[in-house]
């Protein structure tokens, strides 16, 4: 083994490099075996009359493959070590041919998962996944540890991320909600997607059995019917529990593969309550979240990423609000006065025009959209990355514009659709001011301005662009820039006669 850095225990809570559990290669091999067996034997069984010895050869081939996997897994096991270094970061060295040394900055921790695939669960093992903020592959997975070991490591990671001593011990858990499997099943059935998938399945089955007969039917059964997606979601969210603990909100779910996720406080960037049309009578909603680093375009497969972005698969709205209150405290959603979009919006949004509204209080910004799938998105001012106003040709013909609040990648989109142009601009400017004020007030960030609130905050967007808005045609030919390079008045981006004030004017005002 090549372990030079951090090998010696030093001050600051560094630990010795450790291996994952020695049974790991075996678990990997056993997990691969059934898949291989099906992949090899099923086509043979279908092909038929070659005699038993072909199947025997196939079985031997499977065994050899499994042995090969086990061997490779053993090699990577010998090469994989993890430890906490002196700077309080988590380190993983791995790789057989290509060596990889990862260093996860725990101060940027976004979440910790304990994942138990079916076979690992049967033998009492679990994988630990650590997610830090960052683009692309910003997660590390330790496969496999004993379940207790994984839990201990999880609490140690969380404790170190919170700046506590590393032997703080497991934080106590207080259960908040359990989603009954029956409710989950009903909620999944009462969705447009399910109906669509069901019809698609029927169509596929009919089509293939008519055109290809039994072979077609067999093909679709082995390739998988679309409706399986719903079943997968059911197994994924089976027995979904949410619990509160000092190191964050914990969710745990799964029928075959059990995933336990911990979201440390303050990591949630935006929240969305989604309500399918058929859920309305029961008052159910699903809660989805944006957490930096848990984007849906994850390279670790959809299961994990979808798991990570669902905070609650289905619950009555009041319960969902309560849970959300743990991740976004004191937001008092009910007290927020929602302002509807202008009446003529029905000419742009024929279906959802009654459901478009926007509101805010001193902590969060809320938007609502969608009739058949109603989405209420909530973003705290302190988590606003940037604000945008957009306007397409159709919107412009009606004098409307949409205002967006940008959030890190995730399922939640915060957009106030189809407002009056002037209103959209005012919303953007005001939200920007609120976001900046929240940033300055937020103790969890290092806001280090020497000056106080800038005077330019008082400037409204209307000063930069007229109600017609975003720059339009007819500017004079561009003037060659002199002096201050960034002077916007020479950047002919605004209509004639409405040139924006120069930055100097702003600063002096």
């Amino acid at each position: 083994m090549t372990l030079s850095p951090g090998a010696a225990p030093s001050a600051g809570g560094a630990t010795q490099p450790q291996h994952v559990h020695p049974l790991t290669p075996w678990v990997h091999a056993m997990q691969a075996a059934p898949v291989l067996l099906i992949a090899v034997v099923v086509p043979l069984g279908n092909a038929g009359e070659f005699g038993a010895w072909i199947i025997l050869v196939a079985l031997v081939a499977v065994l050899l493959l499994v042995a090969l996997i086990a061997g490779l897994a053993y090699l990577s096991w010998t090469r994989l070590t993890y430890w906490f270094d002196g700077q309080g970061d988590f380190r993983i060295d791995s790789g057989i041919v290509t060596r990889r040394e990862r260093r996860l900055q725990l101060s940027r921790l976004q979440g910790v998962d304990v994942v138990q695939p079916l076979f690992a669960r049967l033998v009492g093992m679990a994988a630990l996944t650590i997610e830090v903020a960052g683009a692309g592959d910003s997660r590390a997975s330790l496969q496999y540890l004993k379940y207790e070991q994984a839990q201990a490591l999880r609490s140690e990671v969380l404790a170190r991320a919170a700046g506590l001593t590393h032997d703080a011990g497991e934080a106590p858990e207080e259960p908040l909600v359990l989603v009954p499997p029956r409710d989950l099943a009903v909620s999944l059935l009462l969705r447009g997607t399910t109906v669509f998938l069901f019809l698609l399945t029927i169509a596929l089955v009919i089509l293939l059995s008519v055109t290809a007969g039994w072979a077609g039917l067999f093909m679709i059964l082995t390739a998988g019917v679309p409706i399986i997606i719903v079943f997968t979601e059911f197994t994924q969210f089976f027995n979904f529990t949410v619990a509160k603990s000092p190191d964050g909100l914990r969710t745990k779910a799964g029928l075959f593969q059990v995933t336990a996720q911990t979201i440390p406080p303050g990591r949630v960037q935006a929240v969305e309550f989604v309500q399918s049309w058929l859920w309305r009578r029961r008052g159910w909603v699903r809660v989805r979240i944006n957490v930096a680093g848990l984007s849906t375009t994850d390279d670790n497969g959809q299961n994990q990423s979808q798991m990570s972005t669902v905070l609650l698969p289905v619950a009555p709205y009041p319960v969902a609000r309560q849970i959300v209150n743990y991740v976004l405290p004191d937001m008092d959603l009910l007290d927020i006065e929602m302002k509807a979009a202008p009446p003529r919006v029905h000419r742009r949004a024929w279906i959802q025009f009654r459901n478009l509204s926007v509101g805010w209080n001193d902590r969060v910004f809320v938007t609502e959209r969608g009739k058949y799938v109603n989405r209420i998105a909530v973003v705290p001012h302190a988590r606003t990355q940037s604000v945008r106003v957009t306007q397409g040709p159709w919107e412009r013909s009606l004098g409307l514009a949409s205002m967006h609040v940008d959030s890190p990648p995730g399922p939640v989109t915060v957009v106030a659709l189809y407002r009056e142009v002037a209103e959209a601009q005012r919303l953007a400017q005001e939200q920007n001011d609120r976001a900046q004020a929240a940033l300055r007030a937020d103790p969890s960030t290092h806001w280090m301005t020497q000056t106080g609130a800038g005077d330019s905050d008082e400037q409204s967007v209307a000063d930069f662009a007229p109600p017609t808005g975003l720059p339009s045609e007819g500017p004079p030919p561009p003037v060659e820039q002199e002096g201050r390079p960034a002077a916007p008045s020479s950047n002919d981006g605004t209509p004639a006669g409405q040139s924006p004030p120069a930055p100097d004017d702003l600063r002096d005002s």
Partner: protein, 148 residues
């Protein structure tokens, strides 16, 4: 924005659309459809003129203002956009110049926040202006870095 951006973009339009049109027309003629070739050429010409005109307007639509606490960027003709990015939210500032941009002495500055949807790109700046803007933005960003 520098007016050279208009020229650069029109050049790109020309060197992509014109050869395509010629190839398309030749193929149609060879295939024995001269009337369709004529239609295609006329359509391509209409698109060319329209795009030529649109590029001028679109380039003029770009604008930005460095305010005290944030950067404001506007762009677009058909789809108009106004973005406000607080300096404290900027995670990195890119300065990009492709081969055609470089030959015209142009560069663009792009801002990134933790949100992928923040679309704040300022194209067609003279390189020294772009570099100056980048440095000022980076300095402001460092100054006020607010994390996530």
């Amino acid at each position: 924005m520098s007016p050279k951006l208009t020229t650069a973009r029109r050049l790109v339009l020309s060197i992509t659309l014109l050869p395509l049109t010629v190839i398309g027309a030749v193929v149609l003629v060879v295939a024995g459809l001269p009337i369709w070739a004529l239609v295609a050429v006329v359509a391509a010409l209409v698109i060319f003129v329209w795009a030529w005109w649109l590029i001028g307007r679109r380039v003029r639509s770009f604008g930005y203002v460095e305010r005290q606490d944030d950067l404001l960027v506007t762009s677009g003709i058909l789809f108009r956009r106004l973005v406000i990015v607080p300096y404290g939210r900027m995670q990195l500032v890119d300065l990009v110049a492709g081969p055609i941009d470089r030959s015209f002495g142009l560069a663009s500055v792009q801002l990134h926040t933790a949100a992928a949807t923040t679309d704040a790109k300022i194209p067609g700046l003279p390189p020294d202006v772009a570099a100056g803007l980048r440095d000022r933005l980076a300095a402001q960003g460092e100054h006020r870095s607010a994390g996530l």
